[in-house]
Each structure stands twice: as structure tokens, then as C-alpha cells.
């Protein structure tokens, strides 16, 4: 059997995707379906004093116009930051309150999508307008989680003042990151069909179980009465995780009109009806002795949140896991403004905090007169700086050394502004990347057939990352089948539990469940063949039979391919489920996951700290006349346990780095402070990198063995690639120009 793990395998769904044969949620059209459209609020804060739907209702093709006044059976759920499945705690169209611009105020149902949108444009609203602020005021921030409350949100170890006092050099700096939106290529969409008390929802989702659990609870239905279908997802990045008003409104509208309804949210509305990356301020105080060893590490993160939720993505937990320091203080703070609630966006805790930390380290290295790579080396640690437990594996400096060599760091003249090429100033910079290894519980069912085929079933999702392919690879490796013979079924809530596709959990957690399910199939076949009257395993104690890479092996060197053994049984088919749970996972986290929530073991367990690491190196060029900033080269080396699929893993890491270029130089949701609105809610003016912005990207994938994280030795990599990119680019800009840019995105207007 050819090796299927740690090889390059082309996506099993690639052909279907490029030929249009892959059906995304909005491609399903139940018979008699009508179309929905949202009308949204012009103002950000205030009260709806009137809403005139007459013109919309008179529009040809319009079937119904719903507002807060006439939508029966509209249900809501608790927000995620209050322990519920909703994307936010505030639900528009329950009343007349307006809490953010672009909040839904009416839902139009029509015979065509065009008529629905026209109807939505014809809805006329009047408001009593209140004062609104779209941006947070950091001076008004408040602390989340008091010191010593057990949660560890705020934390002090040692004495920062003493650490700073004994430092030979220190930095005290502040970095600012903006609101950003995910902008997945596939639009938000929901289709709802009621048949009596049974409901089917088609919707691109990072968590079909969350949807089903929340919707069935809201309507008082058994979970068996609700189907949620999301076979393919055209990018999510955190934006398709929670239950949003547009989904619950579509479900209610379908019920009210007595026909299936599909809503496709417009690109502009996607900026306000779901989540985003909140803006933030990152404050660092670092002190080091003359050899570069940190004597003090302080990080205060202030993040934006809405008026109705406390959106905490504790980035300080990640930064304080990074470098050894005897004195550590971290603080998580929030400041409110008048927006919908933010949420997670690819590397939600890490992108903005490492933009800060890894620049602060660079600034410190300059003050110390040290090579920035060496500063990381002297502060590398094999024990978690706060918890004191060892890292299950940590290849940070191996990554630095590999990337440093491939990049040609030795050619760098450390003097800022010293390197040029024609009209270009040239700079080199580097930064650390890390991502926690979050391990969810997961289940999977495998049904193997004597023909040499297997179904692999689990409620995981392929958000474009290649999950279908790696699940097939794992099954193929264990069962001894070709990858193509393993048919993976995912994206439906009635399948065995798999985690939310978030926090880079799927490969490690759901993959482990598939692995266990395959071993269970082996055990089931072993039981059957041992009970038979003939064959190599007849009469052998099934407990003595093991499955290794598609071979059943027993005492005395007996062995037989699994598929042959299965063919010899009368059923010719074996089904088994695998239930994976990391030993450090608490009962509470297990329960939470089965109730549609996010429950993980790690990254720090009582025994170990589990993180993936990387190092990123950037070459930046700044044009002498236009001041344009370009990134001709980006090299990253990463270590994250076992690589399941070298091709899709490479794509994930490279994709993260591409996104990092965007975060560094282009991406920002602009704010109109006067009207408290997002200004550039379209992908012509919200800039993301185009092909021409992405030149050479080299990704090195180091080998690393980690037997603690899970049976496959896999760490998540979906978000790792983006983490160090913006800081590496910022450090390179400083090296090229001598200017330190501490605010994202970094643009030519900062350099004139």
C-alpha cells in the first residue's frame, strides 16, 4: 500500500470544485422556493420611529415584507459570549431599537431575488437618532477577568517594576490594529424549508452542530426534526461560525409565508450582519539584560467590543506563552463602541498581538545591538513561561535556522536604510509565528465494504482547507485502501459529532476520531474472523489481533489484509464509530461540545503546553518616488507535528502568509466617525492582495514528532501562517527606511 500520510495528495474535491459540480449551500433550490432580501438601518444608534413598507409591497413580485411589527415566530438564541450559539446577543427586528448601522430592519420575500432586493430598497424608515461612536476610546477601556479569579485573564508573575529596573534596555511601545472583515468569496446565505414541524436549513457553516442545536432549542423541536446541510464552504475564516439574525429571520420568514425561502446577503451587508476582527491597541513593556534575556514582559491588550457583548479573544494568553521571563504581567481589556459584535477572524488572538510583540522584540534587539534572531534564541524556552509545564514539542529555533538559511539573512547589513537597489530601498525583517494546539472531542463513523471501499462520516466541515482529502487519507492509511476509495461525507448535522471548524482544530481532532474509527473497524473485523471456523484468525482471541496500516496481525506472525479478511466474513461489511477525547479534556468541555459549543483541551494542560511554531522572514522594498511598499520575498519555516497532506498543508501556510501581506499592507475597514458606519464595505475599496502583490513565497515544513497532542501527532495549521507576517514586514520596513510603523495597515501615506 502506498503511503498516504505526509505526502502530497491533490484535493479529492478539486475537480468537482473547478467544474462547478460541487454544490454549495445556496445551490440547493427546494421546490416552490421564494427569495429573501434584507433592508438595513441607515443610522447607528437610536429608535425606529416608523417604517413604511407600502411601496415595497406594491413592487411586482414582492410576496411579503416583514418588520419587527409583523414577523410571527421569529426566534433568537443567546450570544456566543454569553455561552450561547449566536454570533451576538442583540437581535435586530425584535423591537425598534437600533444599535449599529447596517442592522436589519426589514425582510422582504419575493418571487425573484431581483424583486426582493428592489423591494428592500423601497422600504422607507424614519428614526430618532442618538449619538453614536463607531470607534472605541481606549481611555474608556475596562479590564476583563480580575486577577486571580481562576480564569487567568489578567495575570501577574513576579514583579514587572523590578524586572524593568534591572533591565539593561527596555521598550515601552503601543501598536494599533484596525477593524477587518473576513470577506469570504462565498456570500453568506441561508435557505430554510419547513415541512410541518420539520425544518431543513442549507447554509455555509463552520459548525452545523451549533446551528442544529441552537435552532432546534429556539423552536422547541427535537434535534431530530432539524436538518442542517453545508456540504462545501467557500471560505469562512471565522465569519460563518455562530447563528446570525439573517439565518433566524430566513427561518421565520419561510414559516410565515409557508414556502421555502433563500436569502443571499449582499457584499455590503456582509460587513454588518455578522462578525469581524475588532480593532485593538497592543501595549508592550519589555526589559532585557545586556545578554538579551528578558527581565520583564508586560502586555496589555485593549480590544473593541459592542455595547451588548464582551468579545474577548485573549491574545495575551498567546504572547505570554512565547518567551521566558521571570516577571510577567498581562491584562486583557475591552472598550465599547456602536457596532455589531466582532468575533474571530483567522488567527483571532494572534494576528494583532504578534504584530505588536514581534515588533517590540525587534525594537528591543535594535536597542541591545543584537541580531533579532539571536534575541529570540536567548529567550527560547522549553517550559511554558507561566504554567511551568514543558512544551509537548517546540521547534521554534529550528524554524528560525531553516528560514534564515533559505532566506539568506546573512546578507543583511543590520544598519537601517543601508540597502538599496536602483530606485528601491531594501529591508529584511523576521518574526515568530505560533498557534495553540486546541484539541476538541470528536467522533467519526467508518463503514468499510469488502469491495475495498469505505464511507467516512462525520459532522466536520471543509471550509476550503482540504478536510475532505485529509480524512480520506487517514482512513486510507489505516484501512489499507487507496485514497479515492474512501468516500468522506461531512457538513451535515446528523452525522457523528465533530468540532466547530475554528481554532485550527479539525485535522487534529476530527482526524483522530477517523483514525480511531478505522481501528474500531479493524477490531470489529477481527471479532468476526476470529469467530469463523476457517481462515488465518479462526479461533484467535480478537484482543490479540491488531490493525496496522491495512493489515490485521495476530500472534505467531499471522497476518491478512483487512479488506481480504472482511471479504471472508458473511456480512462483507463492517461499521464502527470512533470517539476521540484528549485525556486532558474536561467533562465540562466535552458537554459543551456536544451541546454545539466550543470545548477544547489545551493549549496548556496540567502536564504539557501544546503549540505549533514558525519563523517568517520578509524582504520589503520601498520605492524612492512613489513610496509604495512591496514584498518581493516571504520565507516561512514551520513545525506542527505530523504533516497529513504536504500539499494542502503547504497551501494553508502559504495562504496564511498571503493574508498576512494583506493585513500588513492593505486591509482595513474604514470608519465614518460622524455617521458611525463602515465606509468601504465592498471588495473594490477594501483592499486585499491581488496576484501581483504576492511574489515569491517559500514555505518549509519541518519534521516534528509529538506523541502527546493526539494519536496522529498533528497540530493545527490553518491559522499559523498569518501570525508572524505583518510583524516581519513591519520590521523589514524599518530596516529599509529607518521608520517604525506601529499601525496597521502600513501604507505609502505613512512613509511620505
Amino acid at each position: 500500500m502506498a503511503q498516504t500520510i505526509n505526502t502530497e495528495v491533490t484535493r479529492t474535491d478539486a475537480r468537482r470544485k473547478v467544474t462547478g459540480a460541487a454544490h454549495y449551500a445556496a445551490d440547493f433550490t427546494p421546490a416552490g422556493m421564494l427569495h429573501g432580501a434584507l433592508a438595513t438601518s441607515r443610522i447607528a444608534v437610536g429608535t425606529l420611529t416608523g417604517i413604511d413598507t407600502a411601496k415595497a409591497e406594491a413592487e411586482p413580485g414582492v410576496v411579503a415584507v416583514f418588520t419587527h411589527a409583523n414577523l410571527p415566530d421569529y426566534k433568537t438564541v443567546k450570544g456566543i459570549y454569553s455561552g450561547g450559539p449566536g454570533s451576538a446577543s442583540f437581535w435586530p427586528m425584535e423591537g425598534t431599537a437600533i444599535k449599529y448601522a447596517g442592522q436589519p430592519i426589514a425582510y422582504v420575500v419575493a418571487e425573484t431575488a431581483a424583486a426582493a432586493r428592489r423591494g428592500a430598497q423601497l422600504v422607507e424608515a424614519s428614526y430618532e437618532e442618538g449619538e453614536a461612536h463607531i470607534a472605541m476610546d481606549p481611555a474608556q477601556s475596562f479590564i476583563v477577568g480580575a486577577e486571580g479569579d481562576g480564569e487567568g485573564m489578567t495575570l501577574t508573575k513576579g514583579d514587572i517594576a523590578a524586572g524593568l529596573a534591572e533591565a539593561a534596555q527596555s521598550v515601552d511601545v503601543e501598536y494599533v490594529t484596525p477593524f477587518q472583515h473576513h470577506n469570504p468569496m462565498e456570500m453568506f446565505a441561508a435557505t430554510a424549508e419547513w415541512r410541518g414541524d420539520r425544518l431543513t436549513v442549507w447554509m455555509p457553516s463552520q459548525s452545523v452542530r451549533t446551528l442544529r442545536h441552537g435552532i432546534s432549542a429556539a423552536y422547541g423541536l427535537p434535534e431530530t426534526a432539524v436538518r442542517v446541510i453545508s456540504p462545501f464552504v467557500g471560505g469562512a475564516f471565522g465569519s460563518k461560525a455562530g447563528i446570525t439574525p439573517y439565518t433566524m429571520l430566513t427561518i421565520a420568514a419561510a414559516k410565515a409565508v409557508g414556502a421555502p425561502v433563500r436569502l443571499i446577503v449582499t457584499r455590503q451587508q456582509m460587513y454588518t450582519v455578522a462578525t469581524f476582527r475588532p480593532e485593538s491597541v497592543q501595549r508592550f513593556r519589555l526589559g532585557a539584560d545586556a545578554s538579551g534575556r528578558l527581565t520583564a514582559f508586560e502586555h496589555v491588550e485593549i480590544a473593541q467590543t459592542s455595547q451588548f457583548d464582551e468579545v474577548v479573544n485573549p491574545g495575551t494568553h498567546m504572547t505570554r506563552s512565547m518567551y521566558a521571563s521571570p516577571n510577567i504581567h498581562t491584562e486583557q481589556r475591552l472598550a465599547r463602541s456602536d457596532t455589531n459584535s466582532g468575533g474571530f477572524m483567522r488567527a483571532p488572538n494572534e494576528m494583532q498581538t504578534f504584530f505588536g510583540l514581534e515588533q517590540a522584540m525587534d525594537e528591543l534587539a535594535l536597542k541591545l545591538g543584537m541580531d533579532p534572531v539571536e534575541l529570540r534564541r536567548v529567550n527560547d524556552t522549553d517550559r511554558h513561561p507561566v504554567a511551568g509545564v514543558p512544551f509537548s514539542s517546540r521547534s521554534l529555533m529550528e524554524c528560525f535556522d531553516a528560514a534564515k538559511a533559505s532566506f539568506g539573512w546573512a546578507d543583511r547589513n543590520a544598519e537601517p536604510g543601508s540597502m538599496t537597489d536602483g530606485d528601491w530601498l531594501v529591508g529584511y525583517g523576521c518574526a515568530t509565528a505560533t498557534y495553540p494546539t486546541n484539541i476538541s472531542p470528536s467522533a467519526a463513523r467508518v463503514r468499510m465494504q469488502a469491495t475495498g471501499h469505505a464511507f467516512v462520516e462525520l459532522a466536520a466541515h471543509d471550509v476550503g482547507t482540504g478536510s475532505y482529502t485529509i480524512m480520506a487519507q487517514i482512513a486510507a492509511a489505516r484501512l489499507g485502501l487507496p485514497v479515492e476509495a474512501c468516500d468522506v461525507v461531512m457538513g451535515e448535522a446528523h452525522l457523528p459529532l465533530a468540532p466547530i471548524s475554528g481554532g485550527s482544530t479539525t485535522a487534529a481532532s476530527a482526524g483522530s476520531a477517523v483514525h480511531l474509527a478505522c481501528l474500531a473497524v479493524g477490531a470489529e473485523v477481527a471479532r468476526q474472523v476470529s469467530a469463523m471456523s476457517e481462515g488465518p484468525f479462526a479461533g484467535v482471541d480478537p484482543a490479540q489481533i491488531t490493525l496496522e496500516d491495512g493489515m490485521l496481525r495476530g500472534p505467531g506472525g499471522k497476518s491478512q489484509p483487512l479488506v481480504e479478511a472482511l471479504a471472508s466474513t458473511p456480512r462483507g461489511e463492517a461499521t464502527a464509530e470512533g470517539q476521540y477525547r484528549h485525556p486532558a479534556l474536561t467533562d465540562e468541555a466535552l458537554r459543551r461540545t456536544y451541546q454545539g459549543g466550543y470545548g477544547v483541551a489545551g493549549p496548556v494542560t496540567p502536564e504539557m503546553a501544546m503549540f505549533a511554531f514558525g519563523a517568517e522572514f520578509a524582504e520589503v522594498r520601498v520605492h524612492r518616488w512613489t513610496h509604495e511598499i512591496r514584498v518581493p520575498r516571504l520565507h516561512g519555516a514551520f513545525a506542527a507535528g505530523t504533516w497529513l497532506n504536504r500539499k494542502t498543508a503547504h497551501s494553508q501556510l502559504m495562504g496564511g502568509m498571503v493574508w498576512g501581506i494583506g493585513s500588513a499592507l492593505l486591509e482595513v475597514t474604514e470608519l465614518d466617525h460622524t455617521r458611525a458606519r463602515f465606509l468601504n464595505a465592498n471588495i473594490a475599496e477594501y483592499l486585499i492582495p491581488v496576484n501581483a502583490d504576492v511574489r515569491e513565497i517559500r514555505v518549509e515544513m519541518l519534521e516534528e514528532q509529538d506523541d502527546y497532542v493526539n494519536p496522529l501527532g498533528v497540530k493545527g495549521i490553518g491559522e499559523l501562517g498569518i501570525v508572524g507576517t505583518a510583524a516581519a514586514i513591519a520590521n523589514a520596513i524599518h530596516h529599509a527606511t529607518g521608520k517604525r510603523l506601529r499601525r496597521l495597515p502600513m501604507r505609502m501615506s505613512d512613509l511620505v
Binding site: R117, D423, E628, D693
Partner: protein, 338 residues
């Protein structure tokens, strides 16, 4: 989008007929501005007169004394023309650096010069104040809005929308003319007169009359064209409007500047010829310092808005950088002739 009537004339006369008169009808070329704004409900024509069936307007000629571009020539086709690239690199570079390949394949030159502002308040009807979209309603940009994309030259207290196009800068730098035909007959308009300053009626953007169609755009050939350059500064390498740009051309006599052409993009309310900067150069010996002086002169009269002050130093550097390239081209051309 509202419903609208759709017409496909095959002759200029028929097109003029359909678009004249009382009905709210507009011409449609590639549609990349028009349909975009209709989807946003910013433009709501009752009828569209699709002129792409008038094949005679697609041709163009790169003549020895005159360049002539039919109004329906495609951006992508003209951008790729090797003769034009030699005759006037600024004209091909300005097209190449505009929009994306997909848009350039669809969009036509007549539509290109008439593209409308990217002012976000104009493009989003949720903002109730926009004098351009709704005369007399105010200006959201000037009243506490974000002005980083707005004009620092040519704006008024009623509107500071920026003209976003690239090609128009190369045209205005070289004294292009626009040939039109309308219900009142044919005329030739100096390109510099086509667009009008916002003043107190920003809803009026050109001197074209209802039903008046652009037939062609013509440019007299001058020596400064050969040593011309279009330099566009933008945060994104491609598919982005200019933060600042310059179309320049130089004619040298030895190192003395005989003729200089400078136009500015990304900074003004209409296509913008920088006459004062040209004057700085004429008759003087070219140097980097002189190029910088010209760059500064181009923005001497600029009025920075709250968020667009960066455009003054940026624009000055872009002009200087463009002149350096034009100068190198002029030198290379002179060597070629020796």
C-alpha cells in the same frame, strides 16, 4: 436595480435619436461604471441605449501626425498596441495600470473618460448628504467624513469628489480633443474643457448635452510624447485607483527642457493639467533638483483636506519620479538618433 428599457441601435444617428428627448435614457458602453452604479441605485436611468453595436466606433489609428481613438475601442486592445507604446508610452501605460484585465477587456475608451467618482458617499445611498447624487443635500465627505480619497485640487465647498481615471491624465497632458455628435450637430471639444469643476453644481460633470455621443478622441502628435511616462502610486500593486499619479512628457534640447507636459491623477476633481509645474521646467537645464521643484510647484495651490494632506508630498514625489523616467527616455531617444 430598477427595471429599464433597453435599446440596441446600430448607427450613431439612431443612438442619438433614442437618447435625446425627455426620457431619462443614458448611453451604455462596457457598462462597468454604469451598471455598477445602477446596482447601487445611484444611477436610475429609465432606459439604456447600448451603443456597442455601432461597430464603426471601435477603430483607432496611430498616425504620424495624429492619434485617433474611436469611442468604442477597448481599453485592453489599445493598451496592447505596440505602435502606440512607441509613439506615446504614457497613453499605453495609463491604460495598462487602470482597473483589472477583466475590466479592461470590457470597458471602452469613451466610457473610460466619463467614469464617475469613487467617493464612497456618492456610491452609497445610505448617506443622505451628497450634492452630486442629490443636489442641495450637502456633502457627507466635507461634513465630518473621510476625505482620504478626495480632491486637493479643483474641489469646491459643495463637492470635493476626485476624478479617479488614469487615461484622461495622459490625454489632457497632450492637448487631446473630443469629437462628438448630438441632436444639435457635431462639435470638437478640447479635452481640457470636457469635464467641468464642481463649483456649486457638482451634479454636472461634463459639458456634454443630452443625447450627445462621443465619436472619437484625437491627439495631435508632439515630440514630448515619445519621452512620456505615466507613474501611478497605489498601495496595491494592481487593480487599485491612484493615490497619486502623473502623466508627463519631455522634449529636450541637449539638457535644456524645450517642452514639458504634466498632468495629475488621484488628486483633482477633474483631469488636471499642471501648467505652473510645466513652466518651472521650460527653458531650464534638467536635473533631479529641478524635477523636485516642478513636483512641488504642481501642488503649490493644493488645499489639503482632513485626511488627504499626504497627497501633497506624495504627488510632488510622483511628479518628480515620473519626470526622471521621462528624462531617461528622452536621453535614450536622443542617443538612438545619434
Amino acid at each position: 436595480m430598477d427595471n429599464f428599457a433597453f435599446f440596441r441601435p446600430t448607427s450613431v444617428a439612431e443612438a442619438i435619436d433614442l437618447a435625446s428627448g425627455d426620457q431619462k435614457r443614458d448611453f451604455l458602453a462596457g457598462g462597468t461604471t454604469m451598471v455598477d452604479l445602477m446596482k447601487l441605485a445611484v444611477q436610475r436611468p429609465g432606459g439604456l441605449v447600448d451603443i456597442t453595436g455601432i461597430k464603426e466606433l471601435e477603430s483607432y489609428e496611430i498616425g504620424p501626425g495624429r492619434l485617433r481613438f474611436g469611442a468604442l475601442a477597448r481599453m485592453a486592445v489599445v493598451a496592447d498596441d505596440a505602435d502606440l507604446r512607441e509613439a506615446c508610452p504614457a497613453l499605453t501605460e495609463a491604460l495598462w495600470k487602470a482597473a483589472s484585465p477583466q475590466l479592461r477587456n470590457v470597458a471602452r475608451l469613451g466610457g473610460n473618460i466619463l467614469q464617475r467618482t469613487r467617493c464612497p458617499y456618492f456610491r452609497d445611498t445610505a448617506y443622505t448628504q451628497c450634492n452630486k447624487r442629490d443636489p442641495g443635500s450637502g456633502c457627507a465627505a466635507l461634513e465630518g467624513g473621510v476625505t482620504s480619497l478626495h480632491a486637493i485640487l479643483g474641489g469646491s465647498e459643495h463637492c470635493v469628489a476626485m476624478y479617479p481615471g488614469d487615461w484622461a491624465q495622459a490625454l489632457i497632458a497632450f492637448d487631446a480633443e473630443v469629437r462628438t455628435r448630438g441632436p444639435g450637430g457635431s462639435r470638437t471639444i478640447p479635452f481640457a474643457d470636457l469635464h467641468v469643476l464642481p463649483g456649486d453644481s457638482p451634479e454636472v460633470e461634463t459639458i456634454l448635452e443630452k443625447g450627445e455621443i462621443i465619436i472619437s478622441i484625437e491627439v495631435p502628435v508632439v515630440p514630448a510624447m515619445r519621452a512620456s511616462h505615466y507613474l501611478k502610486a497605489r498601495d496595491r500593486e494592481s487593480y487599485a485607483f491612484a493615490s497619486a499619479s502623473a502623466a508627463v512628457g519631455l522634449e529636450l534640447d541637449g539638457e535644456t527642457v524645450k517642452d514639458a507636459r504634466i498632468a495629475l491623477g488621484g488628486v483633482a476633481s477633474v483631469p488636471w493639467r499642471a501648467g505652473a509645474a510645466e513652466e518651472v521646467l521650460r527653458g531650464r537645464t534638467f536635473s533631479e533638483a529641478l524635477a523636485r521643484e516642478a513636483g512641488r510647484a504642481a501642488f503649490a495651490d493644493a488645499t489639503p483636506l482632513e485626511h488627504s494632506a499626504y497627497k501633497i508630498p506624495l504627488g510632488a514625489d510622483v511628479v518628480a519620479g515620473a519626470l526622471m523616467t521621462a528624462h531617461a527616455r528622452a536621453r535614450a531617444g536622443a542617443k538612438g538618433e545619434d
